[in-house]
């Protein structure tokens, strides 16, 4: 099992004033693998996601990304245009609030097609065709392609954001609480969608969630964070069914079974 990682972080540290957000965090992600970062609010999980994806710089430590050609790049040493290009093509980022990544004044189809155009696609007909195909992939009716996102429900907006993210066939997707703030029935639909797409397209993903059931459903491995430290990590079902660290035992035992 010495095949190369897609993303590796070593010794990440970051403090916000007196508050430790990341303390000596290491992380590895292999191609096609889903890694969940769990922990309560303020544990540093979203900070870790932002640092892994190059959106926020650590005070020390390094994040390596393996490019399709096999070479390693230091995410935080890359020139800004190269990092932006990475975010437009190889990577995707699904925000908890879809309004953070969608353009609310541009049609649904335009939101999806825009990422293709940013990659260099110029043929209007094929862009529109891909946009419609991706809308149906995320179960948005093709008749809505010219509608503005502001006429969409919260669940539809989240699915539109996923279509916009996946249209460029990224190798790696970062997801920040993708089902947070949605009704449970909408959550189930979205989770099923993410689960199917990630498995079928072989996408690697780093997923931040406070919901252990989401981690169990989607992730191969899980990292448990508390006060900026990774207190436990391993196989998802092993960590959830046989938690070792006091904090993980607390998290697991605090979940209400419906």
């Amino acid at each position: 099992m010495s095949d190369p990682t897609l993303l590796s972080a070593r010794g990440l540290n970051l403090r916000f004033g007196a508050v430790p957000a990341l303390v000596d965090v290491d992380a590895d992600l292999w191609p096609g693998e889903v890694l969940a970062i769990v922990g309560e609010s303020g544990s540093g999980k979203t900070t870790l996601l932002n640092v892994l994806s190059g959106r926020m710089a650590p005070q020390s430590g390094v994040v390596w990304y393996r490019e399709p050609a096999g070479g390693l790049v230091d995410v935080h040493a890359m020139p800004a245009p190269a990092l932006r290009a990475l975010h437009r093509s190889d990577w995707g980022f699904v925000h908890q609030n879809p309004r953070d990544s969608l353009r609310m004044g541009v049609s649904a189809g335009g939101n999806v097609g825009e990422r293709l155009m940013a990659q260099g696609s110029r043929h209007y007909g094929s862009i529109r065709e891909s946009a419609i195909a991706w809308l149906s992939e995320v179960e948005i009716d093709a008749s809505r392609v010219d509608d503005l996102p502001r006429t969409f429900s919260g669940g539809m907006l989240q699915r539109l954001q996923i279509a916009r993210t996946l249209v460029t066939h990224p190798r790696l997707v970062f997801m920040d609480e993708p089902t947070g703030g949605l009704d449970v029935s909408v959550q189930a639909r979205l989770l099923d969608l993410i689960r199917g797409l990630v498995a079928r397209l072989g996408i690697a993903a780093v997923l931040v969630t406070h919901d252990l059931a989401v981690a169990r459903l989607l992730a191969h491995r899980v990292m448990v964070m508390q006060q900026g430290c990774v207190v436990e990590s391993g196989l998802t079902d092993q960590v959830l069914d046989d938690p070792q660290h006091p904090y993980t035992q607390l998290l697991v035992s605090s979940v209400l079974a419906a």
């Binding site: 046989d242 035992q249 607390l250």
Partner: protein, 229 residues
């Protein structure tokens, strides 16, 4: 040929939230199963049968000792294997039927079974899943429905179909017939026997003596630790 063997396998639970109480469950377990053999784990409730079975699947962490599983021709120690190695062992080597089906919202019974198939196309997996479900008396009208609302016996049979469809070289069964009537139970007995005849190594917990006698070649007693001491 040995499929699984353990050496001095021990496991205890340390409950931090209950004042750090330690519950030893397995101590110095020496267990083995060969291909083409079915071993029944026996012993009273609470003795640690499920803990042993879950450890064999890598669901529980091994405390100390070795837990060797033959995977792709070599013995892998699940006590020290990386998470990714365990994922690989489960994909290619270990099948597991838990006591209860974990329902995934919106996914149909057919797809829950079909997605556990190995090395076949989606269409082949669905055909195989359909045949297995029908064999287990799950009528075709239910195949397209998510099993959340199914009865306990129906859910258990879907779980069985999911466990058997992959035809893994090693199969772990936790009470596979607990919620089944006699007719359905006999179908499961036949399926376990066929798997053993194909050369599968089976480890199971069977409270039902009829099932245990019908499928197992031998028993491995698991005793509560205070009694064993």
């Amino acid at each position: 040929m040995i499929a699984i063997e353990t050496h001095a396998l021990s496991k205890q639970f340390l409950l931090h939230l209950q004042g750090g109480v330690r519950i030893p469950v397995l101590r110095d377990v020496a267990f083995s199963v060969s291909f083409g053999e079915c071993v029944a784990l026996t012993g009273p409730s609470g003795a640690g049968k499920t803990t042993l079975l879950r450890s064999l699947y890598g669901n529980y962490r091994v405390g100390s000792g070795a837990l060797l599983v033959r995977h792709q021709g070599a013995m892998v120690d699940l006590a020290t294997a990386s998470p990714r190695e365990i994922v690989s062992v489960r994909r290619d080597t270990l099948g597991y039927v838990s006591q209860f089906l974990r329902v995934v919202p919106r996914v149909s019974a057919l797809d829950i079974v079909a997605e556990a198939a190995r090395g076949v196309t989606l269409a082949e997996a669905r055909a195989k899943a359909t045949a297995l479900l029908l064999r287990l008396h799950i009528p075709a009208r239910l195949h397209g429905l998510p099993p959340a609302t199914f009865s306990g016996g129906e859910q258990q049979r879907i779980n069985l179909a999911r466990g058997f469809i992959g035809e893994h070289p090693i199969l772990l069964l936790d009470e596979p017939t607990a919620s089944l009537d006699a007719a359905r139970r006999d179908i499961v007995i036949a399926m376990i026997r066929e798997a053993v005849d194909r050369g599968t190594a089976v480890v199971g917990i069977f409270h039902d003596a009829v099932v245990r006698d019908a499928v197992s070649n031998r028993s491995h007693p698991v005793l509560p630790l205070q009694d064993a001491a």
